[in-house]
């Protein structure tokens, strides 16, 4: 019974963090282009190239 006193808030907190992360990812536009995200993993990382190369 005693363990519940901190386990329940802990469980809710973890769940709440998950929910907050989901809402954040939604707001930052990560669900705007699901197909594009899937395709982009196939692209080379271009950070080392000069822009426009």
């Amino acid at each position: 019974m005693n363990s519940l006193i901190f386990l329940i808030p802990l469980a809710l907190l973890l769940g709440g963090i998950g929910l907050a992360a989901f809402l954040w990812s939604l707001r930052s536009g990560q669900y705007d282009d699901l197909e594009g995200a899937a395709a982009r993993i196939l692209l080379e990382d271009e950070t080392n190239e000069p822009p426009g190369a």
Binding site: D33, R40, L43
Partner: protein
Amino acid sequence: MNTGAEVLLASRALGDGLWQTDLSAPTIHCAGCIRNVERGLGGLPGVEQARVNLSTKRVGVTWRGDTPPALIETLAGLGYPAHLCDSGADEKDPELARLIRALGVAGFVAMNIMLFSVSVWSGADAQTRQIFHGLSAVLALAALLYSGQVFFRSAWGALKTGHTNMDVPISVGISLAFGLSLYDTLNHGAHAYFDAAVTLVFFLLIGRTLDHMMRERARSAVRGLVQLSPRGANVLRADGTYTYLPVREIEPGSRILLAAGDRVPVDGWVEDGVSALDCAIVTGESMPQSVKAGASLRAGTLNLTGPLTMVASARADTSFLAEMVRLMEAAEGGRARYRRLADRAAQLYSPVVHSTALLTFLGWMAATGDWHRAIGIAIAVLIITCPCALGLAVPIVQVVAARRLFESGIMVKDGSGLERLAAADSVVFDKTGTLTLGRPRLIDAGAVAPEVLSLAGALAQTSNHPLARAIARAAGTPVQPLPLAAICEYPGLGIEARVKDDVYRLGRAEWALNEATAESGTVLGCNGRKLAAFAFEDALRPDAATAVATLRQANKNITIVSGDRADAVAMAAGQLGIDTFMTNLLPGEKVDYLRQLGDAGRHVLMVGDGLNDAPALAAAYVSMAPATAADIGRNAADFVFLHESLSAVPTAFAIARRANTLIRQNFVLAIGYNAIALPIAIAGYVTPLIAALAMSLSSIIVVSNALRLKPEKTAAVAAP
């Protein structure tokens, strides 16, 4: 042409000299395309960032400076024909974001309450159970207030207008379940239905969100495929200079310079110049029309060969296009009266469920006199019959069907279109641009000597005229480049070029040949002597004959309604074996014809593409348009097919019919499950555990059944 000015009109200022331009490029489809487009555009001077959205087939470009970079030209050079979309107008969909947030909250709460519930079911002692029920109550309240709003609002809206929809029994069920559970929790009862109430909200929101996403996706992909109405035009000012004005600001009497390749922005007449006009999308005529000074012009037609100076005779809102929009609004008929299957089911369903619950309450009240027990059992009846599976039964099938259609290159606007298509028994086709591709094709290319044909092809390649392009296509690429010199195009007449001392002319017979012959049509002449004559036809869409045959086998009545000349329509009808066709129809007459069919009890599928078809598309019971159709036609149509092949029509029919069967099966499954569970609930044996299990199980069965939708026979139709 004026793309620079036009891009600027369609761009949105971000401040600091930054601009945002959105382009739609429907041919983007893979990772390679993303890289090509982003690198190509990113490399242009002034471009800060280019970002492709693969789901909506769009490119967002931010750039700096006073004149926009050559975005459209660069994309065209990379092989992605693109056009402008209105920047920012349809950026985010607040409704979808709202649904997904509601779904996230409901999912989070449902998971946590389910954790508490499982420990209660596993036999938690009374004190722990009390804590868990209390926590569940708090969480459930939050979920119902936030996520449940979607249903409460829709139910309230329906009740206010004196109707009932699926959301009414849902709202009543979850509110009562929550209310009784709260009462029990406060009175230290053993059972609480918080989990059932929240899981129900979660499952139903999945159905709702899928339904919404399907419609939005189709809408945004369809929007702005081809920009047919120009955004502006070069207007001549009193001081002799030209300014690029938005279409809305063009007044009657303004003089407009129309370059070859521009669309006529408003109704008017030609003041100066000679050219050919492509009227296919406006009137359905398949052959280009020659115009010269004095000829009248309709908004939406395409100027093909030469520059014209025109005088506007109407404002944009009284032009041909606006007239079509008014006709369309007046024509909305068959589909406005249509009520969706789910709503019709709800109309029968809610009275039955509510009276059963009431009778159960009265029965237990009479039998035991224990009002708390009677209410508890009545609410268990409501929860067990709550149309969870029923709420998923329709949207899940329609989402899967829309997915299958999308794989075959067909977009559907909403689920009701699928339901109506399944019921259609007649098909009415437009001719130009629908049964045919709306571009001429050379007949009998084999009858022309190969070297003459390749010479004609070399000449024709320099022109934009549809007939010239047809010759160029038939001739293919010349083996060796011909020594053509002094190539010159005479608008409305043809093309002239020199090879050494000979003058070749490709074009109208009376211009290309100097003997006074009775010859007409298109010829190739050398120094006025005829080398070859060319005849054209409007090529049928690929698979048109197979598609029509398949439809006929399925016992559909097939008719052609066209604005084109009788002989052209009769030829196409003959090739396809269609007996009934009507010719020279005005847009209003097409609507009247569809109305007659509708009054005769027929459910008509209209397939059409032109501006002149748009009112008919709106008037039909269900409608379909190719992606090349005019904007307003595409917006009026329930289905839009992206590929050239006409096999999209029978494919859509097959999938719609199959979806309809699955929806009915799902109804039977959901109702069958209720028939089994209801007596148990009425007898008072349902505990929260049984309710949760039964609900999830029925949803899973309904979803699995929907996934059986495969484009089985349609594959055979698509492959000729």
